[in-house]
């Protein structure tokens, strides 16, 4: 692999190797632009992934301390685990389920379409579905999304069959095995899906797209990419003109290093990215780098989520096969007659026995809990994922009372549900239960949101520099050569799983950065 000198200020330094950072790195490297990627985690592989929920969690998840506050239940049940995301090469693309949905047109205009929602900080995106469409197409091709590019849909597992039957009985029509970045046939040198049931634990067959074994190796094959693992970014430095000049980081030995940079792209996911900007405060940027708007860390969204599990008289073995290849899209529309703005998707979901015990009803005990667990083999499950409201005080901030192993202040995640989130969740729970009862369930169970797997909005895009952190290209409003390249860019969350949009934005941003470099604007 190519290596660069620490003093080489011609490189683009990217923090994070996941959906955003990994894609950006490869897209730039393919254009002949030199990239150094700093990844906090280690490099695993399909060979080292583990078909074991708790062991895999220890292997891939971000386990460094974080704290929580606010009225959300996660703060009570999992005070040190606000998010289930990754610290590993490939980031959360190792752990994700593969659901790859485009945002809907109206979702880019959430403020205009939904109106003034009191207690929410809604804003229109500074770009449209039209702007993003060519990049969605490139992302779907890159990732091999089923039902695009001639790629057949995946076959439905038992869990899907139940959801399908119940959904159709209720009159839902947009029901299928999903748009999944999981090979239904061998493609691009990767195998076809084996229906392993351990999608969340890293795909051991490689059928599920992950930057770990696609973008990163492709970038390495150019002479323009260096990946440094075990490297935790601590600070972005800038000069007195306000240009980013270097990234200070702790290497795998815990020693402080400095990598010079022509440009810096932040792609550490929506908790670490604002943390890094906040830790990069200076006399010129007393509230944090690129934070003249005060929006860094704010507007944290985690999607309205919850799950419904249902017990049947016959075995289901829901854990057999893909974790999430199944969807009902009928409720993803914006229909305020339901009592809330925005919509939600209903997606199949299964947990293994160990995680079912941990997440079905955190803190629960007694007969209600054991009744469901005793019927584990007869359970079906779905996950509800919908648009939650951005709120100024739902935010990532630095917890200066708590330091990590490097002596850096940890992230605190503060969250309170908005009334719209609560109303949407109630509707979604009710509909999910109705689907399962229509399929013959004897009992249904409402499971609260897990530690957040979708984390968005904390360095949001805005047309106006007062309202957000970056522009339609993810370029910082304040720092001309600083980019936001992960889901923290999202102005609003939409109803859809975020990864496809993150990848599309990264492809688009790479084109933009290349143009900027040719013009010597960066």
């Amino acid at each position: 692999m190519k290596t660069f000198e620490h003093s080489d200020d011609s490189v683009v330094v990217i923090i994070g190797s996941g959906a955003g950072g990994g894609t950006l790195a490869n897209e730039l490297a393919q254009k002949g632009i030199d990239v150094v990627t700093l990844e906090a985690g280690k490099r695993e592989s399909s060979e080292s992934f583990l078909n074991d929920e708790w062991k895999s969690f220890s292997q891939l998840a971000w386990l460094d301390p974080r704290s929580t506050s606010g009225s959300w239940r996660v703060a009570r049940d999992f005070p040190g685990l606000p998010a289930w995301i990754c610290k590993t090469v490939g980031g959360s693309t190792t752990h994700w389920a593969g659901a790859s949905l485009r945002f809907q047109d109206h979702e880019f205009r959430a403020k205009t379409e939904y109106g003034d929602v009191i207690g929410a900080n809604l804003l229109d995106w500074p770009l449209t579905l039209n702007d993003l469409e060519p990049y969605y197409a490139r992302a779907e091709y890159k990732m091999g999304v089923t039902r695009t590019n001639g790629i057949p849909g995946l076959p439905g597992n038992n869990n899907y069959k139940i959801m399908d039957a119940g959904a159709r009985k209720l009159g839902y029509t947009k029901v299928h095995t999903g748009n999944m970045a999981i090979n239904s046939r061998p493609r691009h040198g990767r195998a076809s899906c084996m229906q392993l049931g351990f999608c969340f634990q890293g795909c051991k067959s490689g059928a599920k797209w992950s930057t770990l074994y696609t973008e990163i190796p492709a970038a390495e094959q150019t002479d323009h990419f260096e990946l440094r693992t075990g490297c935790q970014a601590a600070r972005i430095e800038h000069d007195d003109t306000g240009r980013a000049t270097a990234v200070v980081y702790f290497d795998e030995n815990g020693d402080e290093q400095r990598q010079s940079a022509r440009a810096v792209a932040v792609a550490g996911n929506s908790l670490e990215s604002p943390r890094l900007l906040l830790m990069s405060d200076s006399s010129m940027f007393p509230d944090g780098l690129s934070n003249r708007s005060g929006q860094v860390g704010r507007n944290y969204m985690r999607h309205m989520t919850g799950s419904v599990y249902a017990a049947f008289d016959e075995p289901v073995h829901m854990y057999r096969g893909t974790t999430m290849a199944g969807i009902i899209q009928d409720e993803s529309v914006h229909d305020p007659k339901r009592g809330f703005v925005g919509g939600y998707e209903m997606e199949t979901l299964a947990l293994g026995l160990p995680f079912m015990a941990a997440f079905l009803d955190p803190g629960a005990w007694g007969e209600d809990f054991t009744w469901m667990m005793d019927r584990y083999a007869n359970l079906a499950g779905m996950w509800l994922v919908g648009e939650d409201m951005p709120r100024a005080d739902n935010r990532i901030s630095l917890n200066t009372d708590l330091k990590d192993a490097h002596g850096l202040p940890v992230v605190n995640v503060h969250f309170d549900d908005h009334d719209n989130d609560i109303a949407m969740r109630e509707h979604a729970f009710t509909q999910g239960e109705a689907v399962y009862r229509a399929a013959g369930a004897t009992r249904t169970f409402r499971t609260p949101p897990y530690p957040s797997t979708h984390n968005l909005g904390t360095n949001r895009m805005s047309a106006d520099a007062d309202d957000g952190v970056c522009d339609a290209n993810g370029q910082s409003h304040d720092i001309p050569n600083l980019y936001i390249s992960d889901g923290s860019q999202f102005t609003t969350g939409g109803a859809e799983n975020p990864t496809l949009t993150i990848v599309a934005l990264a492809i688009r941003q790479a084109d933009h950065i290349a143009r900027q470099m040719i013009r010597k604007a960066v």
Binding site: K161, A165, T177, R185, C193, L196, R320, G321, L353, M373
Partner: protein, 229 residues
Amino acid sequence: MTSTTMRPVIPLHTVAELTDRAIGAGSDQDGSDQHRSAVAPGGMPALTRRSFLKGTAILSGSLATGTLLATLAPSRSWAAEMATFDDREARVLLRLTQVIFPHENMPEAINALAVKGLDTAATGDDAETDSAVAIAFREGIVALDEAANGDWLAADADAQLAAVQSITDTELFLTVRGSCITSLYDNDLAYAHFGYEGEAFNKGGYVFRGFDDLAWLPDPPADASPPVQ
């Protein structure tokens, strides 16, 4: 499930083997005759030399005939040895896991695994001094007994549950409930009991092993759920 998937979590000795070894064990270090009663209701074996060692107890039992576990296990008899809890404490903890998680027909071997985990957590570095965890557990057991007219183990099921409901703020309850989430449900005995098949890659996944074998509902339309390619 083949034996390669059964990770040995507790040693499944025969009860006789264990008793023999206990009798033949090396001399007791301090010569103390301070011991806990080794004879429990239900016919646990009378332990001799072993019972003179501080804090030692053994939970043991048999897997019920005709159960899946009994067919899979190397031996129907099982035993789990304690390093810190005495005999009564171990039995209280085992029963406590059953009251907190009142499963239909959960083999006691799985609860014993959980108690073994608690014993390990309570075992301090110093054999002479109780660890803070052990102290908290013993205080919690005292509270349980007090809430059940002095002997929680002797109380009926309703009284046992009521007593547990009165101690849900204690470290004993919180620790037992929390640790059971992994110790009761993340082991091969539990997988077999609840019907979870565990590791899949080495068996080729489920694409040819029943991922879509559900036959009691109509199949989805082909455009919604295409066939395996």
